[in-house]
Every structure is written in structure tokens, then in C-alpha cells.
Amino acid sequence: MDIFLSIVSAALASIFLQNLVLERALGANVLLYASRKKEHVVGFAVAITYTTTIASPFIWTLDRLLGDFEYYSVFMPLLYVLTVSVIYIVTLVLIWRFFPTLFKSLRKYVHLSVFNSSVIGALFLYSQQGNDLFAYIGYGFGTGIGFVLAAYLLYAAADRLNSSLVPAAFRGYPIMIVYVGILSLALYAFTGYSTSAV
């Protein structure tokens, strides 16, 4: 039960309190790309969730084994990227072998959904928080779900944000960033707001 609660609480924290995109801006540009099409939202979310969840036990092991090494922080990116690369290649080979049709549709953007700042940044954040293995897994899973939440909110508003009602200079990318900023402000409330000061 403790294990389950540890995973769930870590997942909820990474969805609402420490949402990777809305609270940390990690993967903000991936979000802009993914929100253009519904299938991209799903594809990116699955890839990010899968990679962060599968990578988290390996990252936890690396942190435990090498965490005391003086220059570990300098070598962390290399070790993390190697871990993600192995997972990525093994997964691609398995998909190519058993699901060739899926492989064809994925190959266009799968590398972008795996090698991006949201995945690498999420792994660094787990490491900084120094929790147990199950919390790592929970964060890994919650990161992907948090990305879905942000991507879907942006996807739902994409048509309006790109409409001619928006001034030409702000249409598209600038207004989407402003919109994500407003979502971020809304989510900021979850981190705690005391009315006693008012």
C-alpha cells in the first residue's frame, strides 16, 4: 500500500504541482509542436510517458551508485542520455520487428519526442529530489500525464489562437506562449495560496 501511495502521490505532484511544462517550461517548444495535431498530442505523450517511466529505475540506480562522485553532476547528462538512447534503440528495434506499420508512422517524430528537454529535464528533476525508487517511477509516469494535460489544453485553443481575430504579429507562436503563461499562472495556485495575507 505504501508503494502504491508513493507512486500515486509522486504522480499527482508531477501533474499538478510540478507540471513539467507549465511550472518549469521544460518541453515548451515540444508542446507547441505536439499541440498542432491530435495524433501528435497522443504520440508525444505516449513516447514521453514511456521513456520517463522506463528510464526512471535506471536513473535511480545510477544516482545511488555514482551520486557521491565529486564530478557526477558534470557527467550526469552523458549518463542520462546514454540510458535514454539504449531504451530508445531497443524499443525502436522491438517495434520495427513486431509492429512494422506502427514503426512507419512513428519514425517521423519519435526521435523528437524522446530526445527533448522535457524527458532529459524530467530525469534531472527526479534526481534533484532524491526520492525512493517508487517515487521516481511515479514522477516518470506523472510527467507524461502532465504533458498530456498541457498539450490538450493548448490543442483545444489552437484554432482560436491562430484565428484572424488575433493581431497578425501575435498570431501563432507569440499568443500561444502567452496562453501557456496564463495556464501556468492558473496552475501556480495549486502550489499554495494563503488568503490570510489578504
Binding site: A25, N29, L78, R107, F115, N116, F124, Q128, I177, G181
Partner: protein
């Protein structure tokens, strides 16, 4: 004539922060002070330039899906000296304050996407110049963001107090960063579009002058008749055709002879290209009016810039 791939695109037209949004996470969440911004700029410049130059040596025979992992691994190796140097230059406190936003620079779009769609199709000397302007464009935007956010949020510049009537502390937060960059991008694009519209008007006059030089007609100045405007459009179509028929990655300028040859070919084929050119011009304007960087692509694997 200018090169078809403008080597200074990275500075303004495809600025990574304000125009294309290729790399915004560190700018939004971390560039809250000038020193942190400079640390980001240093690590980004070092990692990007070194990784792009080294990755150029990787054989293209390896499929991109796999090659991209090598790019990231090489960038992670380049990060090691960059991080150590940043610690020496800016101090460990600044590097530690930058947190995860320095290491994530190893997955920036300049290394993972632009290499394939732009840099590695250019000759090396052009690629170096092109990368240089992209890096300068990002650095300028990041440093300016850090400077303004520090000034507006805390009334300081590089830690030194500056007299200011009010502060906006929310600019230190992530949502403040989103709003700052979003509004900044809108203003940046507004200025860009305004200048572009004026440049296009001036270019009509220039084209006319060049046309006159090439075909021996003097049409400069004053109000132009429909026939004269038609000639300008034909001239532009001729320039485009001449550009397409020459390997512009290998040559800086088109000669008048190239343009004239294309011009004569178009005239001999009839004037339908004039209207074709007009249609293209309109389409270009529409696309760039909304998103100037859309020319760098969106939907397919070769066009997935802006993803990191």
C-alpha cells in the same frame, strides 16, 4: 542579389527565441538575471558550435533515427568542458542556480533538427557562418531577456541596484517568463513585419533599377503603369529562376548574365510566369504575416524544427 539561404536568418528572421521558439525553456524559466542568462548563453554557444562541427563528421549513411542519438551523446560530451568552464567563469553559485536548464541545452533544436534540414546541406564555410548567426541570435535574445527581467523584477542590473519607481516581482516566475517572452515575440514580429513591408516597397524600386540596367529600359521613379509593374514581376520571376538553376550554396551572387538568360527564357515562354510570380508573392506574404518561421517547416520529419 542575396543568397537563397540567407546566412543571417538566425539573427532575426529565424531567431530561436522570438521568432521560431526553437529553444525557450531556459529563457522562460531560468533567464531571470543577467548573470544566469550569460551562463546559459556561454554553455549553449559552446555545446552547439562544438557538437555541430563534430557531428558533421558522422556518416550520412547511418539512418537519421539512429544518428540523432549520436548527436545527443556528442553534445553531452561537449557539455562536460562547457559546464566546468562556466563554473570557473561565472562561479559555482550561478551554475547551480541555473539547475537543470544548463544540461538540457544538449538537446537543443540547433543540434537535433537544424543540422539535418539546414546546416549539413550547406558547404562547411557557409555552415559555420550560419551557425554563428543562429547562436548570436539566441544569445542576444537570452541576454536581453535576463537583463530586462532582472531590472523589472528586482530593480537591479547584474546585481547592482538601479533606481526604478516600481518593480514587477512576478517576472521572476515561470508564468512571468512565458508572458514576457510571448509579448516580446509579438512585438519583435510586429517590428519585423513592419520593416519587411517597407523593405518590399523599396525593393520594388531597386528591382526596377536592376531591370532597367539588364534590359535597357528606364523605369525608375514615379507612378508605374500596369505594364511596368508586369515587367517588374517578370524580372522577379527571372531572378527566382536564375537562383533555382544555379547552385546558390556554392556561389554568393548571381551575375546579370544569369538573370538576363532566365529573363529571356521567360519572355519567350510567354508572360504567364508574371502572374505565377504574383501568386507566389501573395502566398509568401500571407504565410509570413502570421508566422515568419513557418517557411522553416512544420509537419513532417524533415520539418520538425523548433523541437527540443
Amino acid at each position: 542579389m542575396e543568397n537563397r539561404i540567407n546566412l543571417k536568418d538566425g539573427l532575426i528572421k529565424q531567431n530561436m527565441v522570438f521568432m521560431s521558439g526553437m529553444l525557450i525553456a531556459p529563457v522562460i524559466a531560468c533567464a531571470t538575471t543577467l548573470m544566469k542568462s550569460l551562463a546559459i548563453c556561454f554553455v549553449f554557444s559552446f555545446v552547439s558550435v562544438a557538437a555541430i562541427l563534430i557531428c558533421r563528421l558522422i556518416p550520412r549513411a547511418i539512418v537519421y533515427t539512429i544518428r540523432v542519438t549520436l548527436y545527443t551523446i556528442i553534445a553531452a560530451v561537449c557539455y562536460i568542458p562547457a559546464s566546468l568552464l562556466a563554473g570557473l567563469i561565472f562561479g559555482e553559485t550561478v551554475v547551480r542556480a541555473a539547475g537543470v536548464y544548463l544540461p538540457i541545452l544538449i538537446t537543443n533544436s540547433l543540434i537535433l533538427s537544424k543540422t539535418e534540414t539546414r546546416f549539413y546541406v550547406e558547404p562547411v564555410h557557409h555552415m559555420v557562418r550560419d551557425v554563428f548567426w543562429f547562436v548570436i541570435g539566441f544569445d542576444a535574445a537570452c541576454a536581453a531577456t535576463g537583463l530586462f527581467r532582472e531590472f523589472l523584477a528586482s530593480g537591479r542590473i547584474a546585481g547592482a541596484e538601479v533606481p526604478i519607481l516600481f518593480t514587477i516581482p512576478a517576472l521572476e516566475t515561470t508564468f512571468g517568463g512565458f508572458l514576457f517572452v510571448g509579448i516580446g515575440a509579438g512585438l519583435f514580429r510586429g517590428v519585423y513585419n513592419y520593416r519587411k513591408a517597407h523593405a518590399a516597397a523599396a525593393e520594388d524600386e531597386d528591382s526596377l533599377a536592376e531591370y532597367a540596367e539588364d534590359v535597357g529600359e528606364f523605369l525608375v521613379g514615379g507612378h508605374h503603369s500596369k505594364g511596368e509593374r508586369e515587367k517588374i514581376r517578370i524580372y522577379k520571376a527571372a531572378v527566382k529562376r536564375a537562383q533555382n538553376e544555379n547552385d546558390l550554396l556554392e556561389m554568393e551572387f548571381l551575375s546579370n548574365r544569369d538573370v538576363l538568360a532566365a529573363f529571356e527564357a521567360i519572355v519567350s515562354e510567354g508572360q504567364e510566369l508574371g502572374s505565377e510570380s504574383q501568386t507566389e508573392d501573395t502566398a509568401d506574404t500571407d504565410a509570413e504575416g502570421s508566422q515568419p518561421d513557418e517557411s522553416s517547416g512544420v509537419e513532417d520529419a524533415e520539418n520538425t524544427e523548433g523541437i527540443t
